[in-house]
Amino acid sequence: MGLLEVKDVNKRFGGLQALGNVNLSVAENTCHAIIGPNGAGKSTLLNCLVGKLIPDTGSVMFDGQSVLGRTPFEINQMGISRVFQTPEIFGDLTVMENMLIPCFAKRDGSFALHGIRSVLSEGELRDQAEQMLDDVNMLDKRNMHSASMSRGDKRRLEMAMCLVQNPKLLLLDEPTAGMARADTNNTIDLLKEIKEKRDITIAIIEHDMHVVFSLAERITVLAQGTPLVEDTPENIKGHPKVKEAYLGEAA
């Protein structure tokens, strides 16, 4: 059984069937990509996994527990971290503070009232955060105001914030959208490195086939809210149904 099990999930928005009988199983320690043309329901599916949307029917099990009805912070505490399409970081805070917040969340849970001890005295967490920053080559930027960084750096910071929590599952929502080729390649390298270094499961939603075929071990193709095929990248490449979904009937 996979780490993440999506069974018969349906979601309607008014008259639109956004997701129809989606079944998906993400095995532990794999990188699983979900691809599909625009409007295929990729984002809806993702939002159902993290607690932003609740499916009309079906079940979403993570690590043997249902995530349905839980809030995003509860789901994160279960071990799912999410990277957004446009980097979501704490822009008013420094890079180091950005890193410390997930460290605190990991150690103390969703709420803890440490109102007196100084942040400076949290040596262990600071070491953790610095180690992670070093891993993503951002240690020199730790005192920078995070809003003033480049988009690529923000993306790396966001990823570092997710990874420092040691999540069981990392969800990536088009992590290279809007990036230049060089940045995209850097991100691919970063993700490859992460995969080698740690035992982590990654689910990635992506448009860019270059990224998908560089990283994914399994690929699910989604079209009109329904999974079309699920297979290895080699088999997906020449699959007629995939071509059809992307290029239309004429092809």
Binding site: V50, T71, P72, F73, N76, Q77, S81, R82, F84, E88, I89, F90, G91, D92, L93, T94, M96, E97, L100, I101, P102, F104, A105, K106, G109, S110, F111, A112, L113, H114, G115, I116, R117, S118, V119, L120, E122, N143, H145, M161, Q165
Partner: protein
């Protein structure tokens, strides 16, 4: 020192020194001189400086850190005042139990209001707090008259029980609030040449409480909790997806700032044992917002500065009348003198609120960072390259 880093410790020491020597610093002009009306070193006004300082420091913990703009914080100040006066009526004239009850009561009050109001954010939150405060005002003003004294306010009486103290003094008067025998209104004067300096027990008591509150605020600003509050302001979505629940954090900040307001209210009643509903009116809530903004939102020292500025201006400006103005401009030719006086007159005396409103607008428009930011700009203007910004609340302290 005190678990603070060097910069924060020196800030605390500077504030402590200013507060300790305030009776000298605020009385720079000799008695009887033309400038004596700019003196502010008398007990009543100095008490207000530090008490409103506490109020603003607490408000800043909520507004400065989380960005939630409450328009109803005066309600907590009012509740604190009522609670303290009731302690004086029922228990004794010792200020400690009165202040403790004031803080607890306003804390509970803030917990209830905060729990409801914080279910919404943005302007909805502002309007909800405003509605709650106006409701509290209406209740205090008329409905709950047996508890609040209604229009006349809550006052001490000769026949109050005061079970742990005496209902009346030996002379048959109502006793005054004190701390184990030290009466809050006691003062001693130091006469040096033409200068008169007043040292008031109540002021120094309130000042010590203020320094403690300020110290606590610094600790909160530098703590993981303070960092979370800034994260709430910065990006709630990210906070949520990082496994943190924003609501208890904001609620804790709301309750803490409500307790600060209650503390200020309790101290106010300790200096002068009466409480009225007008302390809860929404313009009073607006005033603390102004103090915080004028000083500098989200900075440590800003609210203290802002509270001092506003209370000083209020006191001085509302005392000026047209005779004084004519005195000042007597050197001008008659016609011009009258013209200048007529032009300034609307802004002084009873026109203080007009000046206040204009200052409010000017600060929001031109100096959203308040006096602290203004100071920084001036410092920059003189080319003094600041390596570590005084606006340290927004940057991580140097390691």
């Amino acid at each position: 020192m005190f678990g603070l880093d060097k910069k924060d410790a020196s800030l605390l020491l500077i504030v402590a020194a200013l507060v300790a020597f305030a009776p000298f610093l605020l009385n720079p002009f000799p008695e009887g001189s033309a400038m004596a009306q700019f003196n502010a070193g008398y007990p009543d006004l100095m008490q207000r400086f530090v008490i409103f300082g506490i109020f603003a420091i607490g408000f800043n913990i909520l507004f400065g850190l989380t960005g939630y703009l409450s328009f109803g914080h005066a309600a907590f100040l009012g509740v604190g005042s009522y609670a303290a006066v009731w302690m004086f009526k029922l228990l004794s004239m010792n200020v400690l139990p009165a202040i403790i009850l004031a803080v607890i009561t306003s804390g509970i009050f803030a917990l209830v209001i905060g729990y409801v109001s914080l279910r919404r954010s943005g302007i909805y939150f502002s309007i909800l707090t405003l509605a709650f405060a106006q409701m509290s005002f209406a209740l205090a003003y008329s409905v709950l008259t047996p508890i609040t004294g209604g229009e006349t306010g809550l006052q001490l009486a000769l026949d109050d029980p005061r079970i742990f103290g005496s209902a009346t003094t030996a002379e048959g008067n109502i006793p005054v609030p004190g701390l184990f025998g030290l009466e809050m209104r006691d003062s001693s004067e130091l006469v040096l040449g033409n200068w008169v300096f007043t040292f008031n027990v109540g002021y120094y008591f309130a000042a010590i409480v203020m320094l403690l509150s300020f110290y606590l605020a610094i600790r909160i600003f530098r703590s993981p909790f303070g960092m979370m509050l800034r994260a709430v302001k910065s990006n709630q979505q990210r906070l949520n997806y990082t496994g943190l629940n924003p609501r208890p954090y904001t609620l804790a900040a709301f309750v803490i700032s409500g307790m600060y307001a209650g503390l200020a209210g309790g101290l106010m009643a300790s200096m002068d044992p009466l409480a009225g509903a007008e302390r809860m009116f929404w313009t009073a809530s607006g005033e603390v917002v102004l103090m915080t903004i004028l000083g500098g939102v989200g900075t440590l020292i800003g609210p203290v500065l802002g509270a001092g500025m506003i209370k000083y201006m209020e006191n001085i400006i509302s005392k000026i009348n047209s005779d004084i103005l004519h005195g000042w401009f007597a050197f001008l030719p008659d016609g011009l003198e009258d013209l200048v006086v007529t032009m300034i007159y609307p802004f002084i005396g009873k026109g203080w609120h007009l000046t206040l409103g204009i200052v409010f607008m000017l600060v929001v428009i031109f100096l959203p960072g308040g006096l602290v930011e203004g100071g920084q700009r001036v410092a920059k203007l003189f080319g003094r390259k600041k390596t570590d910004e005084p606006k340290s609340a927004k940057t991580e302290p140097a390691e």
